[in-house]
Assembly symmetry: C2
Homo-oligomer: 256 residues x 2
DNA sequence: TCGACTTTGTGCATCCGTTCACAAGCGGTA
DNA sequence: TACCGCTTGTGAACGGATGCACAAAGTCGA
């Protein structure tokens, strides 16, 4: 019965007691940005950069400098006034807060086009997320290794997930199967789900779902295309505001 | 030079004049939800449902009923008090606002694992987004059809995008190539970009970028795993609040 | 040792989005 | 026709996130 993860909290890093209340207080939007900062910082570290100011980092991450400092302040005060931040220090603290000091075993369900792509990443981008199990309904796929991992039958989800202590389930199935797969993952003790299926999943309160919805993304872009067209029409009709939208097609203006 | 899309605004639907100001006022979050409502409504229509109340629709979409009504109010008043909404009517109005009454030609750049998956969708989920061009740097791939469309060399982006009036560019390249590809798309007149590369793109003001970042999604989930572990530790130590988090592993509790 | 300069961390005002609560409006019924 | 119950649409309160501006705090050079 090795499913209740993180029971003993010996997580390599000292784990200061204040972290608990801190972690609970960090707004979700800030968490997402912290992940971005982490990537930028890692890149800097790889290039030998050892120190960085909030100004530099914020530009590289594409956010406001004040917002960046506020985000960092959620996890503690690790900067030096008049100097900036030590890249290594910041990286390790963000990793700690994001829970990246331990590995998170990932299961991918649905080995179609997308499932293949995900499995072949072999450990998700930005290590620490080893894919340890693959599932599909198709009996012909079972046993065949994809990205080095053999595909299991979907009926074995519970057993396999418990055995391999899967923390994160990725749903890459067709829409009709998604809710059923989700239910099975939940009953296997998986509390975090990344859902690629265009379906609104119903889950218990203690399960965290994040969805990646290509159709929605495309439609948001479509909305902006339409809005642009409308604005252009308004402007050319002399209705619109004196906006500074230079709609030049040939311009390759890159913002500094 | 047929690049300035939507010049004449004969968009099949009457296109009420008030729409312009409306579209500009709709918050982005609401736009994303409208896309979700649209999908749910389409599903209902397929099942022969003709009318729906805000309560029903909001449950199916997993949002607050009041929020749903406010979202719908952004696009106009198309409900009937005491009755609800006509499914067909709502579908057509949401489609109109989202600009789905016309097709949006899509180009996918980077035909690796993900690019393959995207190309093979053959017209993105939820029609209206035909993939009309594929690009890659690899000369070995050029000419080979993927999902029925031959791959072009990346150097031909500008010409091909202009010719096929691409409105939306999808970047599925490795990180180092992303910015360069983005620049080329922009100079080809593409104003909407969906970016799968874990890179912060720099673009001019008139270009809309949406990013899908798997690493960030995973790390947000990781954060929640860590937070859970901390909370569990606090609770078992008698520190935490009397939260109702029944961490039962066997429970398959589906919220109504 | 002292002062000038740089950059962090944060209180505060502002803005945007969510939620509540209720009046307005519509269909059905007597 | 007049009433009743139901559901929409929205004004207003609320809460959370964003951006500003500045004090606190450190480094560097004289």
């Amino acid at each position: 019965m090795a499913s209740q993860r993180g029971e003993g909290e010996t997580t390599t890093t000292p784990a200061e007691p204040a972290d608990r209340e801190r972690a609970r207080a960090i707004p979700e939007a800030a968490v997402a940005r912290l992940a971005v900062y982490l990537r930028v910082l890692s890149g800097m570290a790889d290039q030998g950069v050892t120190a960085v100011s909030s100004e530099e980092l914020s530009q590289a991450a594409g956010v406001n400098a004040a917002k960046l400092r506020k985000d960092l302040s959620y996890i503690g005060s690790y900067g030096t006034r008049g100097v900036g931040y030590d890249v290594e220090v910041l990286v390790s603290h963000i990793e700690r807060i994001l829970g990246l000091t331990r590995n998170h075993s990932v299961a991918v369900v649905g080995i179609g086009n997308l499932g293949h792509a995900l499995a072949n990443y072999g450990g998700f981008p930005g290590r620490g997320f080893p894919v340890t199990a693959l599932f599909d309904v198709d009996a012909d796929l079972v046993g065949i290794p994809v990205g080095g991992i053999p595909v299991n039958h979907i009926d074995d989800i519970t057993a396999v997930c418990l055995e391999r202590e899967v923390s994160i389930g990725v749903i890459a199935t067709p829409p009709p199967a998604a809710q059923s797969v989700c239910d099975r993952l939940v009953s296997a003790g998986v509390q975090c789900i990344l859902n690629f299926a265009p379906v609104v999943l119903q889950v218990p309160d203690n399960v965290e779902v994040r969805k990646v919805d290509l159709a929605v993304e495309m439609q948001i872009l479509s909305f902006h295309v339409a809005r642009r067209a409308d604005e252009a029409a308004s402007v050319s009709a002399g209705i619109g505001p004196a906006g500074n939208n230079g709609l030049g097609v040939d311009g390759m203006v890159i913002r500094p």
